[in-house]
């Protein structure tokens, strides 16, 4: 892998940038691999990278039915935070935030991790109680999260409307300063480049059509649109399509796939310094380095794989945005799009071994998967390599839906991911 640096750019500038090598190659699939990862999103590519880097497993293929990073990785609003309530959640998301910090250097790819702070607004007494509960739990777990008065919130995010006349006046906010955003495409590309450099095959336009199992029931490989590929282990990291893939191996997962929409405004000069989330009016917003306001909308109410949603969902979100930031009604929506989010009953992910030997699953991130990318990939690689969960993902089992040991952030916090 040719190292990226300002010097490399200078050198290339001299020859019209014609000497840059491929960031990742596009090889033909081999007969078989030690590990096949299904899904070339951030979590999948990251898993392959950490398998190679931390566990020395380089005979790995990442299979992608479309183009790498083209699923939720390339469709989300890139919010990063770890101020979750429960120890289990705080554990995995904070593991991730620690990896975000330094990921650019680790991958030699600028993923533009920007800890500009994530501020969650409290609009009523109940919100205040819930956020205080988070803040105290986070402090004792070593996760930064602090309480701001409305005036402090306004100072941190000047466009914020803290008028008492607002429909739901801002009563305060919880701020995680280490929270922020990153450049979603760069995360996929950076992992892809770094994984490929360590010998991982990234195979795009290769859809898995079946999961093969031997007489003992263990995984033996996959059928794909580009032929049969053998594998000792298969890790499914396919977000909204995970339940479809798991059913190929006869494993039922408690997942439902919903459309989630997002939109960006036309680019404007810097006006919005941080990330703001509001659960009561349900919306989240930040401004990209390019100048676009990046706004996350809610999910549609019905399950779907269509990657589109209703206009009324976007309208409802913009109602809320313009209520919190009345200066934005003259801004224009430039692009809107939809992703497919896989939601579990307790809104927490599943990163675990499955009843099928050699089959592992990483899914159920709902609307919150991007922030977890490095941490999820890191511990999932451990789970696949060692055939046992990393302590951080040990609680995120499939069994919890049987014994009732749920990790119900949604119920406990009523805070959107």
């Amino acid at each position: 892998m040719r190292k990226y640096s300002v010097f490399a750019i200078a050198r290339e500038a001299m020859r019209g940038h014609k000497g840059w090598p491929e960031q990742w190659s596009s090889p033909e699939p081999k007969k078989s691999y030690d590990v096949i990862i299904v899904g070339a999103g951030g979590h999948g590519l990251g898993t392959a990278y950490y398998l190679a880097k931390e566990h020395g497993i380089t005979n790995v293929a990442v299979l992608e039915k479309g183009w790498l990073g083209g699923g939720n990785t390339g469709r989300n609003t890139t919010i990063i935070r770890s101020n979750y309530l429960y120890d289990e959640s705080a554990g995995i998301y904070d593991h991730s935030v620690k990896l975000w910090d330094g990921l650019s250097q680790d991958l030699n790819y600028n993923v533009m991790y920007s800890p500009r702070g994530v501020m969650m607004l409290a609009h009523n007494v109940h919100d205040v109680q819930v956020f205080k509960r988070h803040i105290h739990a986070n402090r004792l777990n070593g996760v930064d999260n602090e309480w701001l008065t409305p005036e402090e919130a306004k100072a941190y995010c000047p466009p914020l409307n803290i008028s008492r006349e607002a429909r739901y006046p801002v009563m305060g906010a919880a701020l995680q300063r280490r929270g922020g955003t990153a450049r979603h495409d760069a995360v996929a590309w950076g992992y892809a480049r770094a994984a490929a450099a360590r010998g991982v095959d990234i195979i795009q336009n290769c859809e898995v059509t079946d999961i093969n199992r031997g007489p003992d029931g263990a995984v033996t490989g996959v059928e794909t649109t580009r032929g049969t590929i053998g594998a000792k282990k298969v890790g499914v990291v396919a977000a909204g399509h995970s339940s479809v893939l798991m059913q190929m191996a006869g494993v039922q997962v408690p997942l439902e796939s919903y459309p989630l929409q997002a939109l960006v405004s036309e680019p404007v000069k810097p006006v919005f310094p941080c990330v703001v989330m509001s659960n009561t009016v349900h919306a989240y917003i930040s401004q990209s380095d390019k100048g676009e306001l990046v706004i996350g909308a809610g999910t549609d109410q019905y399950t779907s794989y269509s990657q589109t949603g209703g206009l009324h969902i976007i309208q409802h979100t913009l109602d809320a945005i313009c209520e919190m930031f009345p200066i934005f009604t003259r801004m224009k929506m430039l692009r809107s799009w939809g992703g497919i989010v896989d939601v579990t009953p307790d809104r927490s992910p599943i990163l675990a071994k499955t009843p099928v030997s050699g089959l592992y699953v990483n899914c159920g991130w709902g609307t919150g998967g991007f922030k977890a990318t490095p941490g999820s990939a890191h511990v999932f690689a451990h789970t696949v390599a060692r055939d046992e969960p990393h302590p951080v993902n040990a609680p995120f089992t499939l069994e919890r839906f049987r014994n009732g040991r749920l990790i119900d952030e949604a119920a406990a916090a009523a805070v959107a991911h």
Partner: protein, 97 residues
């Protein structure tokens, strides 16, 4: 915004009048008390989540307030049919897509 044909109102109505109510044809077991943990998990948590035709429940909550069932293609979001609660699951093999 979907246009949903309500089998009770006998006309297509805007999605804004409806509330989705999850997968259809998952009957609450008669013998709740004897249910095993596995059976309870299947009943309460496991959903088919198909990429293709899904049988789902809707409630015309801001209309006639009835719960009813629908068969919809989750790839195109096209409704194949809607039918009243309690009516048998229609056989739609080969349709949709």
């Amino acid at each position: 915004m979907l246009l949903i044909h309500c089998p009770y109102c006998e006309e297509g109505r805007p999605e804004l009048e409806f509330r989705h109510a999850g997968e259809a044809h998952i009957a609450r077991p008669e013998n709740m008390a004897e249910l095993s943990d596995e059976d309870f998990e299947r009943f309460f948590f496991i959903r088919s989540n198909p990429k293709g035709i899904v049988y789902e429940r809707w409630r015309h909550i801001h209309g006639c307030a009835r719960f009813f069932n629908a068969a919809r293609d989750t790839v195109s979001d096209r409704f194949l049919t809607t039918y009243k609660a309690g009516e048998p699951k229609p056989d739609l093999d080969g349709e949709g897509k």
